[in-house]
């Protein structure tokens, strides 16, 4: 079975959220529904030096996350009506809207915030990898829109060859939980993020 995934270069991401807005534009998502979210990670300290000037030791970077179309998706497991499923062609996690009863169990089960409740329709919604674009040979809207070229997509084995096999960056969930299909190029400041007590600084923007 093929397995598609996203690549995120967190060292290049400027946090401009063009991916997020391009996704909303393509999928016509109301405010409040974010199939792709950009997390601002921020931590560290400012200390006054002996010369009176400030010195910063910071860990700050941005992390753009949609759905990771996991190998072992918690959302699919949690869904009581089998509305969520992993499709065969590209291994994407998709939702059958006719079966969804809007119980939101999947929302609890996903460690990445990918499942988004559509209040108007009373059902869940999520990233479908722009599968209609893939079918005609185009890129997903988010990847195509990125002005920093920080996003890429494709067969996960090819992404791994191209960009390595890093599947985790602070403060994402342990990849062993759901085996996410993504490759991350870590921002250099991610190394000090834990010791700097970095946190998601824009929780309200990612509706966390």
């Amino acid at each position: 079975m093929a397995q598609f995934g996203f690549f995120i270069d967190t060292s290049a991401c400027s946090g401009c959220k063009t991916c997020q807005v391009a996704c909303k534009d393509k999928n016509n998502l109301e405010p409040g529904i974010l199939w792709r979210r950009v997390y601002e990670i921020s931590g560290g300290n400012w200390e006054k030096g002996s010369n009176g000037g400030w010195k910063a030791s910071l860990s700050t970077y941005n992390l753009s996350v949609a759905c990771n179309h996991c190998e072992e998706p918690g959302c699919v497991e949690a869904c009581p009506t089998k509305a969520l499923y992993k499709e065969e062609k590209r291994g994407l996690v998709l939702i059958d809207e006719d079966k969804c009863i809007g119980c939101r169990y999947c929302e609890w089960a996903c460690p990445y915030g990918a499942l988004q409740f559509d209040r108007d329709r009373g059902i869940m919604s999520k990233c479908d990898f722009c599968v209609d674009y893939l079918d005609v040979g185009s890129s997903p809207s988010c990847v195509a829109s990125c002005p920093m070229r920080a996003l890429d997509f494709g067969e996960i084995s090819e992404l791994t060859l191209k960009y390595g096999n890093m599947k985790h960056i602070y403060p994402m969930a342990d990849p062993e939980i759901t085996k996410p299909c993504l490759v991350i190029k870590p921002h250099p400041e991610a190394e000090t993020a834990r010791s700097n007590n970095a946190r998601v600084a824009n929780k309200e923007e990612v509706k966390q």
């Binding site: 946090g15 959220k17 405010p31 931590g43 400012w46 400030w54 700050t60 309200e204």
Partner: protein, 430 residues
Amino acid sequence: MLYQGYGMQRRAYGEQPVRGGCVLAAITGNIGIHGGWASGIGLQPGGSPFWNIFPMKNNPVRASIPTFLWTEAVLRGTDLSKEEGLRGVERLSSNIKMIWAVASNALINQHSNINRTARILEEESLVEFLVVQDQFLTSTGKFADLILPACMQFETWGLEDGWKYGEEVILMPQIAEPAFETKSDYRICADLAMELGLFNEFTEGLDEKGWTKRLWESYRSNRFPDIPDFDTVVRNNLGVYSLPVHEPKISFEDFVRDPVNNPLNTPSGKVEIFSPELKELNDPDEIPPVPKYIQEWESPFGPESEKYPLQAIGPHYMGRVHSTHDNVDWLKEAFPQRIFINKKDAEDRNIEDGDNVMAFNDRGKVELICRLTERILPGVVAIPQGAWWEPDRKKVDQGGSVNTLTSERWTPLAFGNAQHTIMVEIKKVR
């Protein structure tokens, strides 16, 4: 590589770091070489003009005033002098009685000291008639006596040339009809020209598409000989043409190689670290002939910092272009208007992330939700510029416009804005 033009000039004495940068480049030998710099914001030398080539005709009005001093011109009228930047005439022939603001929320929202500007606009004995031509009911639009509703760019024909880094021409075809009673800016002007009996002189018999075609062909004949003709471009849905850049261009290369035969456009033909022209102005405290540090008129180092200890800056926000797009819900969701505060400053004031905070000084009050961040220097707060001013009944701005706090004082040499030079205090509210 030095770079200038991204904010530091919009401060009190902003001329000094700008000239200082040039001097630093000169004395370190970084002019006219690869990777060097001489001035400005890094335009491609020899690149395109900033705006397109719509013919301007002959404007019989000789008077001009610095944009930033428009409130001064309204207040002083015929008393306005060259001390306030008046150019072209000794005195204005009348007070300013009418303003016609086109595609501009600059009048109230983007100009400094909004409460002062509002008082000036509200005073009927000054400007008696304000016309605003825009697509949205902006904060400026709310002061208008008359609003002329303009259509969107997508609803008319247009042409743009690239600005800054390259040579480009971009066709902007009409893809939808204007909504409701809106008209293009050009059509509004043409209709007014008709009332003034100047229709043919103004339009030269052309509509929006006709002008776009004429200007496209003009570009083709004088700058971009390789681009297809207008009809072909439209028919084939082309639209963007960039002149490829094959090698970096270097400013003042000729001057550095042979300064005698390639003098600079200065009185001496040389780099003027000491400027005799500036010395002539005889204001060494504020316009020194050699650039130097001058303590700003509102500064963390002055006595004013006891009452207002925090510097406030108004950076560009990623969700807006100045005040444009502040009314777009997807962008407000992505970049909500916030006041950004360093944790240290917040701790000193018992402010927590997400609290409602008031930023204030003698000129005004802004109420905003705060975002605590490590990404800003302690002692500095940021209120991204461009949010639309929304005063409540107590004149507290609930929209988050930094210009509620900024000062109308202009820079001494350039008559420019100094909107990043302000001191404020913040406190938690409710």
